[in-house]
Amino acid sequence: MDFKLTPDQDDLVSAIDKLAQQFELKPTEFRGFALAGHELEKELEDGEYFGVAQVPELGPLCAAMAVERLARLPYTSEIALSMLVLPQLQGEWSRPLALIENGRPGRYVAAARTILVIEGDGMGIVQPMAGEVNAAESLFAYPMGTLRAGVRVTPLARAEAANIRKWLRVALAAETSGLLQAAVASAVDHLTQRKQFGRPLGTFQALRHRMAECAVLAGGVHWLALKAAGTALDGDAALAAMHAQESATRVVYDLHQMLGAMGMTLEHPLHLWTYRLKALLSELGGRGGQAQSIAQLCFGAKPPK
């Protein structure tokens, strides 16, 4: 057990941080829902950062750190699945990689070159043809899309599907961690600057304590996400995803309360993180789905008949 970064890990984290700093601010004129980071994506591709998990000195743990850092940006690109899930697929598949669950709209589906399709307990994969995917208007701050019903999907073998499901959970937890950190920081800024009753909102204990609890939850998600990426254990991944979705449920509500009406506007960036978090709440079966997996993986329960 040693949480100090190796020199290689430290170099990667610094490089990602330097890259991210260019995209730290939301454009003032942006009033939309999903702020697409095409330039960010190009920088990541040019720097070959999508292959971090496959570099032996770095591995999935560093990929998770990168996902977490980049999720703090107001811009969004399909990063988490490319960095953490794509390397686990057998065969050659192209990014962007997206996920469709039970026919519902999924993140980045309209631009995806590979789509994982979850239907009940089964999982398949497809490279969509033109016309098989469509963009969907959404309140979620991701570009959402749909896959045409009836598209032929190649089923994944049970073992591969289980492995992919694990890394989907790690990706979800790492992304949630970054989103939580950015959302908390955004609310802290507001509470520091906004004055009511003659003093900053952040001086009122009722809000200070709620913010502190949000920060503790975000910190827990951070550690469980990194641990899951580091150990690559199924149970750790399920626990990380569970804690991520559980914490996000609570934090998103609290932060919007902190921001008041300002948090309802598209001018303020808070929704860019909170409405991404909301999109992640339902993925992979939501908390109920993680709990069923934890019951089997961590408590030794038998699978339901």
């Binding site: 200070r208 827990g220 580091g230």
Partner: protein, 378 residues
């Protein structure tokens, strides 16, 4: 960054587990009630002496004081295993975690020579005289007075909620020597000094855990003072920072959660509602564990632990709460004679958010020092 235990850490954990297997009596689970009780206090002296002889009481202490300079991970693995086993060291865990190290840093040679060797041999129980009827979270307002009279001090006042006082040999006592926060001093007071009266307060926590302690014209020599007059706040802050992630409560909480789930599965009662509640609680335990590990790792690398220690403590409080709620809701029979260890854990968990500084004080610290929110007006 590495999330696996190295061979030395694994071996040490196995050694501690083997020691526990060999030295805990068959009826330990029923003994584990009331860590301050007469039975467990008596047992802890026998157990800690054996632990010391095996080199497992204070491995992280310097060689000079009976340790082997082991790193903070060793100390924490030891603490995890002990707490998970129901803390057979009783109140002596405080000696190991913070009283000994505090004396090593601030004590005189005479104090160190007198007090540290018996701690390292597992022979002595301490209590901490901090809280008072009018000074709980607002510790700086404490009123117990220590008035200098030549080369001695006369102490008058009252402490409350004092754990282990009924069987303690020595009290780590905070008393006021002058007004204000800078006017508090620490005295190391033998509990058999005339003028000390201890009264147990019956509680939910278990037999012999909390007490009132009265100091009536207690006369102690100035050599009992730890550090300089008025240095208590600085010393106590150091001590409390060691204690903030001192008890790995998540370890026993996680073990008891597994036990409760085992009972439910055995009875065919582990349905959807229980599964979700248990999964949520286990995730919280693991979050608290790795939050705490991050603090241990900072210590290991010689870094000062800041407000993250308060965050780790609060994460632990949340985990304890979720496990407690799970047991009460899903295995209520545990609190009515159904399972001695689940009951003992529930009783100990009651104080998770209160002892060693209320959880709300930790939230204040997190808001100010971690989030950098503006301070509350005073």
């Amino acid at each position: 960054m590495d999330f696996t235990w190295d061979l030395e850490q694994q071996t040490f954990r196995s050694t501690v587990r083997a020691f526990l297997d060999a030295h805990l009596p068959p009826d330990w689970e029923s003994l584990a009630h009331g860590p301050g009780s007469a039975t467990q206090s008596h047992f802890s002296k026998k157990f800690c002496a054996e632990l010391a002889r095996a080199g497992l009481l204070v491995p992280h202490w310097p060689k000079r004081w009976g340790g082997r300079d082991a790193d903070p991970w060793t100390a924490f693995i030891l603490a995890e295993e002990m707490w998970e086993a129901g803390e057979p060291r009783g109140g002596q865990y405080m000696n190991v975690n913070w009283i000994g190290p505090t004396l090593m840093r601030f004590g005189t040679e005479e104090q160190q020579a007198h007090y540290i060797p018996p701690m390292a041999r597992g022979e002595t129980i301490w209590c901490q005289g901090f809280s008072e009827p009018e000074a709980g979270s607002d510790l700086a307002s404490l009123r117990t007075r220590a008035e200098r009279q030549g080369s001695s001090y006369r102490i008058n006042g009252q402490k409350i909620w004092t754990s282990y006082a009924g069987h303690a040999d020595t009290c780590f006592l905070l008393a006021r020597t002058s007004p204000g926060k800078g006017g508090i001093s620490i005295f190391l007071v033998p509990m058999d000094t005339p003028g000390i009266i201890v009264r147990e307060i019956p509680s939910l926590i278990g037999e012999g855990d909390i007490h009132e302690v009265f100091f009536d014209n207690l006369e102690v020599p100035e050599s009992t003072m730890l550090g300089a007059e008025g240095q208590a706040w600085e010393i106590a802050r150091t001590s409390l920072s060691l204690e903030r992630v001192g008890i790995p409560r998540f370890a026993l909480a996680g073990k008891m959660l597994q036990r409760a789930v085992g009972i439910l599965m055995g009875a065919g009662r582990f349905g959807h509602g229980a599964i979700e509640q248990a999964a949520r609680a286990l995730a919280a335990c693991e979050a608290a564990r790795f939050y705490s590990y991050s603090i241990v790792d900072q210590r290991r690398h010689g870094l000062a632990t800041g407000p993250e220690a308060s965050a780790a403590r609060f994460a632990t409080v949340m985990a304890e709460r979720l496990v407690g709620e799970f047991v009460v809701e899903q295995v209520p029979e545990a609190l009515s004679g159904g399972d001695a260890m689940l009951l003992a854990h529930h009783q100990r968990a009651i104080v998770a958010g209160i002892a060693s500084g209320a959880a709300e004080i930790q939230l204040n610290l997190i808001a100010t020092e971690l989030l950098r929110l503006p301070r509350e007006p005073r």
